[in-house]
C-alpha cells in the first residue's frame, strides 16, 4: 500500500513540474519580501548607529553610512564624560548582569526540584499543585505590582538589584517548573523505581539519574529565563529607578530624555547594546530558544 502511494505520487510530481516552477518562484518571492520586512528595522538600527547626525539629516533610513564610525556606540556605552544628564549604559548593563545571573540560577534550581518531585515522587493532589504553580505563568503582573512594591519596601530592598532578583526568581518559578515537569514526565519512571528499590535516596536519584540527562532542558530553561529577565521592563521600571535600574529601563530613559538635541545615532547604538546579549544567545542557541518559546511561551 505504502509503495503504491509512493509510486503514483512520483508520477503526479512529474506532471505538475511546470506549474510548480512558477509556484516556487512565487514562494521564494513572498518569503524574501517578508525577510526584508523583518530585517529592515535591524538594518536601520545598525546603519543609523554608524552615521553622524549630519549624515542622518542628509540621507534616508536606508543610506549606507560613510564609514565605520563607532562614536555613538562609545557615547552610548560610556557617555561623553561631561554635562548634566550624561547618561550611558555601562553601569546599567552591569546591573542587569548582576540581576540576571542569580535570578536565573535560583529560579532554575527551584523549578528543577519542583519538576522532579511532581513527576518522580508523586503524591496525592500533585496535579493540583502543578496547576496551582502553572497559573502563575499567566497572571497579569499588574495584579501584583502594588503589594510587591510595598513588600520590597518593608524588606528594605526596594530600588535595589537584590529586590529585582527576588521578583524575577519568584515569577520565573511557574515557567521553570513547567519546563522541568514536562521534560521529566517523558523520562521513564521505571529507572527511578528501580533505583529506589536499590535504596537510592531522593538526592542521589536526582543527581545520578535525572541530572545527567537534563542538559537540554536546563539549556532551554536558562535561555528562556535569561531572555525574559534581561528584556523585562515592567518590574525594572516599577521597582527601581536611578542607579539600580536594569538596562531596559536605562535605555528607555536615555531615549526619552529631552535634555539636549535628539541624537538618533546614539539612541540606536544604545538599543543595539541593550538587545545584543539576547540576540547572541538566540543566534547561538536558536533551537533551544524556540523550544522554550513553543513549550512554555505564555509570557508577554
Amino acid at each position: 500500500m505504502q509503495d503504491k502511494i509512493h509510486s503514483s505520487y512520483k508520477q503526479l510530481e512529474q506532471k505538475s513540474k511546470y506549474t510548480n516552477m512558477f509556484l516556487r518562484w512565487f514562494l521564494y518571492f513572498v518569503l524574501v519580501i517578508f525577510a526584508l520586512y523583518f530585517i529592515f528595522p535591524l538594518y536601520v538600527m545598525v546603519v543609523t548607529s554608524l552615521k553622524t547626525m549630519e549624515e542622518i539629516r542628509q540621507g534616508t533610513l536606508l543610506t549606507w553610512p560613510s564609514g565605520l564610525n563607532f562614536d555613538s556606540w562609545l557615547v552610548a556605552w560610556g557617555g561623553r564624560g561631561y554635562g548634566a544628564g550624561d547618561t550611558f549604559l555601562k553601569p546599567y548593563f552591569w546591573n542587569s548582569i548582576k540581576m540576571v545571573v542569580p535570578a536565573v540560577f535560583f529560579s532554575t534550581f527551584i523549578g528543577a526540584m519542583a519538576g522532579y518531585v511532581l513527576t518522580k515522587w508523586r503524591f496525592k493532589g500533585d496535579k493540583w499543585v502543578f496547576l496551582f504553580l502553572l497559573f502563575g505563568c499567566f497572571i497579569p503582573y499588574q495584579a501584583i505590582l502594588l503589594p510587591m512594591a510595598r513588600t520590597l519596601g518593608v524588606l528594605g530592598i526596594s530600588n535595589s538589584v537584590i529586590g529585582l532578583v527576588l521578583v524575577h526568581t519568584v515569577y520565573g518559578i511557574p515557567f521553570t517548573t513547567l519546563f522541568f515537569r514536562n521534560f521529566y514526565v517523558s523520562i521513564p519512571s521505571e529507572l527511578v523505581k528501580a533505583a529506589r528499590i536499590d535504596g537510592a535516596g531522593f538526592f542521589k536519584i536526582f543527581f545520578k539519574i535525572l541530572l545527567p540527562v537534563s542538559t537540554p532542558i536546563i539549556v532551554v530553561t536558562i535561555i528562556w529565563q535569561f531572555t525574559q529577565i534581561w528584556n523585562d521592563f515592567l518590574f525594572g521600571s516599577t521597582f527601581s529607578f536611578g542607579e539600580a535600574a536594569p538596562i531596559q529601563v536605562a535605555l528607555n530613559n536615555m531615549v526619552l530624555s529631552s535634555t539636549s538635541v535628539k541624537e538618533y545615532n546614539v539612541d540606536m547604538a544604545s538599543a543595539i547594546i541593550a538587545g545584543i546579549p539576547t540576540l547572541i544567545v538566540y543566534v547561538l542557541a536558536g533551537k533551544y530558544f524556540i523550544r522554550g518559546l513553543t513549550s512554555g511561551a505564555v509570557k508577554g
Binding site: I5, Y9, L12, L23, L27, L31, F34, A35, F38, F40, P41, L42, V44, T48, G59, T60, L61, I110, G111, A114, Y116, V117, W121, F123, L131, F132, L134, F135, G136, F138, I139, P140, Q142, A143, I144, L145, L146, P147, M148, V170, I173, P174, F202, N231, F233, L234, Q248, N252, S270, A271, A274, G275, L279, V281, Y282, V283, I290, L293, T294, G300
Partner: protein, 291 residues
C-alpha cells in the same frame, strides 16, 4: 528528627515553590482585590468602601479609551500575526532552500525586548527623518506618514511594531504543527486529485485547530499585558490616545497615587486574562489526561 526529615523530604523540596507562589501570586492578587474595594489613595486603607472604585473606573474617559484601544489592538494584532504566521509557515513547509536562515530572520524579533523594538520603530516612524523622509527623497514629494504623532492613527503604529515582533512566533507554532502531520496524509490527498491549496485549506489547516487555539491565547495574553511597547513608542500619547489598561494601571498607581482605583483596573485586567486562560488550561489538562 532525621526520620521526619526523610519522610517529608518531598514536601520540604516543594515548599519553596509552593510557598513563594502562594504568597507572591495568590496572596498578592487577593490583596489587590481587597484594596480595589477600599478608598485607598497614596497609602492603602483597609476599611471597605464597596464597589466605588469600579464605578469610578468605568466612568473614567481615560479608562474607556484604554479599553477601546485594547480591543482595536488585540483584533488587529491577532489577525495580522496569525495570517502572516500561517503564510510563512505554509510557505516554509514547501522544502525551501535556506529554510533555516529564513526562519532565523522571521523569529529574531522575539529575542529583543519591547523597549528595543519600540526604540527602533519610533525612529523608523519618526515623521520628519524616518520613512516619510525616505519616500520624499525618493521623489514622492507629497508623501506623509505621521501616524506616530497623529491621535487617530498612533494606535496603529503599536500594531505595526507588535506584529513585527510576534508574527514569527506564530510562524514557529504553525510550522511545528504542520511538521507533526504525517506525510502520507498529504500524499494520499494529492493522489485523489487535491491541489496544494485544497490540501492546506481543507485538510491541514483544520487539523491545526489546537495551534490556532494556542496562538489565540498567547497573543491575547500578550496584548492585554502590553505595556513596554507603548511606553517606548508613544508613552500613551499623543495626549492619551494610545493609553492601554496596563499603562493606565501603573500611571494611576504611581503617578496619580490612586491606589484603590489602580487596583480596580488591575483586577479588570486579571479577569480578562482569566477569561481566556482558564478555558485554555482546562482543555490542555483534558488533552493531557486523555493521553
Amino acid at each position: 528528627m532525621l526520620k521526619w526529615l526523610e519522610k517529608n523530604l518531598t514536601k520540604i523540596v516543594m515548599a519553596p515553590a509552593v510557598g513563594l507562589i502562594g504568597w507572591f501570586v495568590y496572596g498578592f492578587v487577593l490583596w489587590t482585590l481587597y484594596i480595589s474595594f477600599t478608598n485607598s489613595k497614596i497609602l492603602p486603607k483597609y476599611e471597605l468602601w464597596g464597589v466605588g472604585q469600579y464605578v469610578k473606573l468605568w466612568g473614567s474617559r481615560k479608562w474607556l479609551i484604554a479599553v477601546d484601544n485594547l480591543l482595536i489592538f488585540t483584533a488587529l494584532f491577532l489577525i495580522f500575526c496569525v495570517v502572516i504566521g500561517i503564510i510563512l509557515a505554509i510557505f516554509l513547509d514547501q522544502k525551501i532552500r535556506a529554510e533555516g536562515v529564513l526562519r532565523t530572520i522571521y523569529l529574531y524579533p522575539m529575542a529583543l525586548s519591547f523597549i528595543v523594538t519600540g526604540t527602533a520603530w519610533k525612529w523608523i516612524l519618526n515623521p520628519t527623518l524616518g520613512i516619510q523622509k525616505m519616500f520624499i527623497d525618493w521623489g514622492f514629494e507629497n508623501f506623509t506618514f505621521d501616524w506616530l504623532v497623529n491621535r487617530e492613527m498612533a494606535i496603529y503604529t503599536i500594531v505595526i511594531a507588535g506584529v513585527w515582533q510576534s508574527a514569527g512566533f506564530v510562524m514557529a507554532l504553525f510550522l511545528a504543527g504542520l511538521r507533526s502531520v504525517e506525510d502520507e496524509i498529504v500524499k494520499a490527498a494529492k493522489i485523489d486529485g487535491a491541489n496544494l491549496f485544497t490540501v492546506y485549506w481543507k485538510i491541514l489547516l483544520p487539523m491545526m485547530r489546537p495551534v490556532f487555539f494556542t496562538s489565540f491565547v498567547i497573543l491575547v495574553h500578550i496584548s492585554i499585558k502590553s505595556y513596554d511597547l507603548i511606553v517606548a513608542l508613544t508613552q500613551g500619547g499623543p495626549g492619551i490616545s494610545t493609553t492601554m489598561p496596563a499603562l493606565y494601571m501603573t500611571q494611576t498607581a504611581f503617578h496619580k497615587s490612586q491606589v484603590g482605583l489602580s487596583a480596580a483596573s488591575a483586577m479588570m485586567m486579571f479577569m480578562a486574562v482569566a477569561a481566556v486562560i482558564i478555558p485554555y488550561l482546562y482543555s490542555e489538562l483534558r488533552r493531557e489526561n486523555a493521553r
